[in-house]
Symmetry: D2
């Protein structure tokens, strides 16, 4: 369904080529003074046309609040926000009205619903993620206010260019390439940008990996048995367009380790806090946050739209050829960074509210 979360929850609506994209944020505590600029900045990091390595569609993606605040302070009422669509070129999609683009959602939506909104992928467009970035932006501010939680994501891999694990460093983007590709390793950032530009020239596309870290998370978030913190994070991330994999802490590498290497030893630090010496658990044990940084990685497949001919079929099952038109990202992972952060914030805000009242 189009609602995410149990108490702090968002309901998303809108299509890429309709009136706009909207979100209703329900369950946000009253009295939160919203920093609208911070939310808009996250939208800027998500929007197309922001740099030379993203699609050149120009969408300002300015959001407005329709309800739920007085003087930008939340009242406890549902907060509806909207980004009106501006720069859609529906005609860019008329060529695929009767065709199924490979590895897109065209075919499955058509079969599920008996019809299809072909303009820009309709509801399956990544433009829907605007709703998540706004909702997550509000969640981030709640988490920062209550606990000082900080959520940072970055690009850990583009195609075969992959940086080292980076969990404990400050998130700094120093060079131009580091900034546009959102990778803190300067050399790797250069290589990533080069790879993306090469893919664009070839009419091809690349995937990649986004890493994310949440710090200052209190102990106790996450609900056994089916509401484990990393299970909800996984669902949140796998629900982002183009995501094919999720791992927390040691992840798939951890499956290759011995227990004697993998176990995170407890110790008591100078301030009397119980900590772990390593963090292969990724900040989660038994599905519940243990106070260490929450660390996870998200795998994105290469963009499905290619600027070259691809064999496919049409709605009647006849062979046809599809070629991308319009303006598309050869690699979505740089723009996915704020989406990953937003979804992480939504999960943590919801689990924070669920965790109230767990003890008499």
């Amino acid at each position: 369904m189009n609602t995410f979360g149990q108490i702090f929850r968002i309901t998303s609506f809108g299509e890429s080529h309709g009136r706009g994209i909207g979100v209703v944020v329900d369950g946000c505590p009253a009295g939160l003074a919203l920093d609208l600029n911070a939310i808009q900045e996250d939208l800027e990091r998500r929007r197309p046309g922001q740099s030379r390595i993203t699609t050149q569609r120009k969408e300002p993606d300015q959001f407005e609040i329709l309800s739920g605040t007085v003087d930008n302070v939340t009242t406890g009422a549902p907060i509806a926000c909207m980004v009106w669509n501006k720069d859609q070129r529906s005609k860019d999609y008329s060529h695929i009205e009767q065709k199924f683009r490979p590895s897109h959602a065209d075919y499955t939506y058509f079969k599920k619903y008996g019809l299809r909104d072909h303009r820009g992928g309709g509801r399956s467009s990544a433009r829907e993620t605007i709703a998540r970035v706004i909702g997550g932006g509000i969640a981030k501010q709640l988490l920062a206010l209550k606990f000082g939680i900080q959520i940072d994501a970055w690009v850990a891999a583009v195609g075969t260019v992959e940086m080292e694990r980076y969990w404990d460093k400050a998130m700094e983007l120093t060079t131009e390439n580091a900034k546009i590709v959102r990778c803190p390793d300067e050399e790797k950032a250069d290589a990533m940008v080069a790879a993306i530009e090469a893919a664009r020239k070839a009419g091809d596309s690349l995937g990649g990996i986004v890493a994310c870290r949440a710090s200052n998370v209190p102990v106790g978030l996450g609900e056994p048995i089916y509401g484990k913190l990393h299970a909800l994070l996984g669902a949140a991330m796998l629900g982002i367009n183009a995501v094919k994999g999720f791992e927390i802490g040691s992840g798939f590498n951890g499956a290759r380790m011995k227990g004697s290497d993998h176990n995170d030893q407890f110790y008591t630090d100078d301030e009397g806090r119980i900590r772990t010496r390593t963090n292969y658990s990724g900040g989660v044990q038994g599905g519940i946050s243990n106070g260490e940084n929450i660390e996870f990685r998200v795998a994105f497949k290469p963009t499905s739209t290619l600027m070259r001919d691809q064999d496919s079929v049409d709605a009647e099952g006849k062979s046809t050829v599809v070629k991308g038109k319009g303006r598309h990202d050869p690699c979505v992972v740089p723009r996915a960074v704020p989406i990953v952060e937003a979804m992480a914030a939504l999960v943590l805000a919801d689990l924070y509210l669920l965790n109230l009242g767990r003890q008499v």
Copy 2:
């Protein structure tokens, strides 16, 4: 929370060292004639003591139905099932009553709830997965009856011993080692068993990877935007004890591919069905099943309980040493196979019921 699913849903209860483990299955259609033996067989594949590479605890894990059927046919009422505990040795756990075992849920449960049921991990014990295997067993039978869906999981890796991708082959376990480790590659199965036995002797443990395939899945299962099929599968798998990663189709490898290699071309087969030539999508496009096999992989960390000394702290934060007693699996992945299948079945059964009524 302890309920999983929206329409076809299970509610799990019970602890490893209490009266037993139970499950309430709600939303199962009426008129399903249950094959109890098939469910019991799945429990046999899950239970401890089943082979020389698993823990030697002897638990028969015989289940009984408490409600919801007449002559083993479902009536539409909630189906409650129970496995009574038999072979618990709570004293095996008295030595850790005041200690936090590394990479276990001891510390996080204690902080979340203010108290802790230390016997066998209480609620965080893998024994809870009995509830899932029973619920999933009923779901499997519903899916088989309605669509002929077949769900098979197997062990794809133990520690560093990893078999090739295997998606399109029939699931056959021919040798003794293949059977007990649940890996269809005979040579790899031998190596896996050897690795597990070596780990046991060293008082150490191993992780691994379980692969799973669902075939004959109809097109259309999965709900945009936040109820994507692979997002729900991911949440289901990451909710299993010791799981650190999930990937569908190409997964993390897909992040390294080019779009021109990764896209799954559509074609129409001899029977007029629209198919894809490759299946990097893993049977899911846009969050909705496309009729190809659903293929995913699940990463398990090495067992946390080790038969050797480990540094840790106690409830007061003081340094202490923990050493496993009792009977534990040096590697849980062979026993995890039916659990992975069960959770997959629960997700598919729920999405089947949710998908009814998507068109007028």
Copy 3:
């Protein structure tokens, strides 16, 4: 929360004196060709200023669709609709900014949220019911298409003027007074209009009862145990502003009857359908529709806003006097009629979708 329903569900947002009132309808099957005029007509029946016995605020309450349709046909995507606010006079409310109006939600919202949107009651305003009328209007069309379900509500009582039970008659409003007060009994309608006008002149207000009937409902809607049809209907009605009571079938009168009079005898009609000779059950037995007309009644308290001085307290607990300003209904029940119908439609549409798949 602000979401109603499980599968066919609405999420409501907006305040009486903010940007407008909106609703997101999720779970509506794809392929439903919407009759927008029918929905607008329900909004006309709800809107203020429609007749001489309602508030004289002039709000056109024109709705627009923001998402979820192509050429007014539903696509399966969430349908967002909006009515923009036009004729708010926030200054009409400045006099009560620091005061708690008796029997309003001012005090409880203030205590719950720590702040209060005093303009027009903010979120607690009956203007929110626009969201329900739109959502219910879509549900009505789904129910009419699938089963020919017809839902009619009318005013059964205004203050002490009460008409006879009327369940089996066609809903016809013949005279001017019958039309504006929505009571099919011409004489009673005259008396009701007179009572409302007298209350207005006295600066006082009246309550009343709305009766509602749904016909052509198939057997089988309603979910044991906690999702009984009349329990969900009751929750839906009691969630409407000013409602203090709900009864199905014989209701409170039924409590005074003998079983031998109250039991609805089964018989088989000429078409071979199993029917009941009486309908004290109100169309629901064991929480499930039995194919007879669903009949229920809803009690509304008198409007809380009075055009006369009332003693009260302010936010600091000091004595004060409150007097209504602005434009208010001396009796809300005529305008409540389409709201009752809408909520009934939402419940039935949701239960229809939930009832799919109850048998293998």
Copy 4:
């Protein structure tokens, strides 16, 4: 479905003539020391055979806890409880195996599920309310501990014998008849008992009204818009077998009052608390508790099972005659008292947990 509540929630299972009735209570805070006797006492007030005016079936209804506690203290894990069936006489029901009893759920269950568990009504039996009494018993203890909330229900009417409104008096049952019929008015209690005995002799049955009051409820419980306190209470009560109506505060009588009489004036009491001089609101304004006593009434229809011949049809639609056998209550309302209290406690406990975190 068979789950009630959002955070504090119960899942019910079991049939009247199967193995027993069970309940899983999820979301109860950890650290609550349960008074098992108090829960058992509520079960005693519910059980059949407790007095000469109830059915003479002898069911001890002893409950046992299967999970979720250590030394009767809740651990945060789901609390499963069970009452095993003892004194079922399934043969008492063989005569109705193929018949639909008037005003029972036989026909609707049969049509909904395609089959029917005829023994004792199967799932639709009032025996299911054991699950609610246990769950509500735990909720009561949580509410008492946190706020000193006290919930008292009593019989306000049996058939046409109705006592005066009684909201502000202490709940005392002084005479034998007052105790068994649970009506605090001694004279009315005598008349009620006489009426029930007369109905029994005539092979007939009676309905009645249960009134309920919750005191010491804090301000702020209840969620706008669709989770209003009285809407959830209404759904809870209407979900009890045989209930046909619900009213809060002034209820249906309030619909006949003028606003100037009905409005509850605010004042500040000697302790500085804001109170209302009257309580026509029934303790709820805008769907949120205002700190006054919560007062509501529940209408029960007369028992459907009669010890006399009634015309009906069988599963093939042919005319037949049905006559009650077995042991049934001529009037259920005395036994419904603890059920009403339990459902009220479940609603309040859930709303208490939902209300945490409504302000930053």
